[in-house]
Assembly symmetry: C2
Homo-oligomer: 257 residues x 2
DNA sequence: AAGTGGTCTAGACCACGAT
DNA sequence: TCGTGGTCTAGACCACTTT
């Protein structure tokens, strides 16, 4: 990598450093390579390690770097395009794509907030299926799918499910939901950070930035499910619309134009 | 606060601090209030100011706090729901909603990346309209709308536009684009940080986290425009689907359930 | 054991907004 | 001028991975 060159301008050091590093990794490094360690870089640029780390923090937030404790700092792979478009992608089709992996399934009375979101009376039984979403073999998201009991009337009663595994119970919920069908969905996307439990599932430390996608599913004019899907912001680019799956063109690059 | 857990991995101080602060601001503060300053808080919790700031950084990333230099740290207002759904919302209807404010308009040969994204030969003239998006009187996003010259054949030639203001030129581009119509769009959303120019427009410091929405518009099977829209991640929740505008229910709260 | 990133400290000074 | 958050320093120790 290049050598120290810091302008004495109103621009903060860490921001200038980020710019220099960004240009360097764009021109002299490729995906998967490890860059020099933090102590060496801070010495080379003549700044404190904390300042250098501030620059690396930015680049990590942008998904350009990945830092692994005990290993080093690596050039990140380009973000994976993850389709979040029509029902077909995220919907509980247990068959087809292996893109989802069931974690567990619980049934409990709805909290007030959840009841409101689902449009059911507080306290009604709600089945919650937790799943992991995979893309290209990597975990990219966790999902909590909440289904009020009244939306899946043909679900076997709880007592009959004693002895069945969580996976089986989860699959029955999904199957029943499929039978109901969906004729509408509304969605929101916002930035969040992973709490402890999410962080474990995503194999990331707590506080990891995530894109929280909340989807409300409707059938015959009433809400039948709410899904809260938590995507790793560092590795995911959410895609919507007709062009499912892989991106048609590297539009991301337009940003720097 | 003090817990005797068997955690083989001790929770970092800043993360525990975040949890405590989050509970405090949820129960004892309301939107717009200023919380005690950093020096006092760090003293009160018996940690270094840098550690306290690490906790505040998290809460700011989550959109729960707003820090203003010279003023203090305030409880943030809930995120504003911004419709990014059908063409109607984001589309250049110069009339109707006052939700967009034109910044400038330039015409230049397409960079290679931009040409690829638009599906035109590199070097073709591309008109770029920059706009601000407002919601509830606040700036929530900037947009760069790229339109290849070949997609708007009836646009007055450049020489004829000499003397016209940028605003007028921008409006003619938008008008022509409206005439062409749109029959398809594909979109992606990812996390980014605001560069210097974007930061100025968004009235935020460089490095501010943003949600980058890239939209490709098509008409008659060919791409007619690409829009790169940069939303302030701290204040925006992007909404898709039928329920435009305000959210139907406080689904966000489900996260903590 | 050695090397990496992660956390934490106790200071210092600067830029900004209000007074 | 004063109080605020923003930046920066020079260390220290810890947790993790590899050798």
């Amino acid at each position: 990598m290049g050598q120290a060159q810091l302008a004495a301008v109103p621009e903060p050091k860490y921001w200038h450093l980020r710019t220099v590093l960004l240009r360097t990794i764009d021109t002299e490094f490729s995906t998967g390579q490890v860059i020099p360690n933090e102590r060496e870089l801070s010495a080379r640029f003549g700044v404190a390690r904390a300042t250098l780390r501030q620059a690396l923090d930015q680049l990590e937030l942008e998904g350009r770097l990945v830092r692994r404790r005990g290993i080093g700092t690596l050039i990140a792979a380009p973000r994976v395009g993850v389709p979040v478009s029509s029902s077909e992608e995220g919907w509980p089709s247990t068959s087809r794509s292996q893109a989802w992996r069931i974690v567990d399934c619980t049934s409990a009375p709805a909290s007030p907030q959840l009841a409101t979101a689902l449009g059911v009376p507080a306290g009604e039984t709600v089945h919650t299926v937790r799943r992991l979403r995979l893309a290209q073999g990597l975990i990219v998201a966790t999902e909590s799918l909440h289904v009020p009991d009244s939306a899946v009337p043909h679900l076997p009663a709880l007592p009959q499910l004693v002895g069945s595994t969580e996976g089986e119970r989860a699959r029955s919920v999904l199957r029943q939901l499929e039978r109901v069908g969906v004729d509408g969905e509304s969605r929101s996307v916002e930035l969040g950070v992973a709490e402890a439990d999410q962080a474990v599932l995503l194999e990331r430390p707590p506080g990891t930035p995530v894109l929280v996608v909340t989807t409300q599913y409707a059938a015959a004019g009433r809400k039948v499910a709410v899904a809260v899907c938590t995507y790793r912001a560092d590795t995911c680019k959410l895609t919507f619309g007709e062009s499912g799956g892989v991106e048609v063109s590297p539009v991301t690059a337009v940003r720097s134009a």
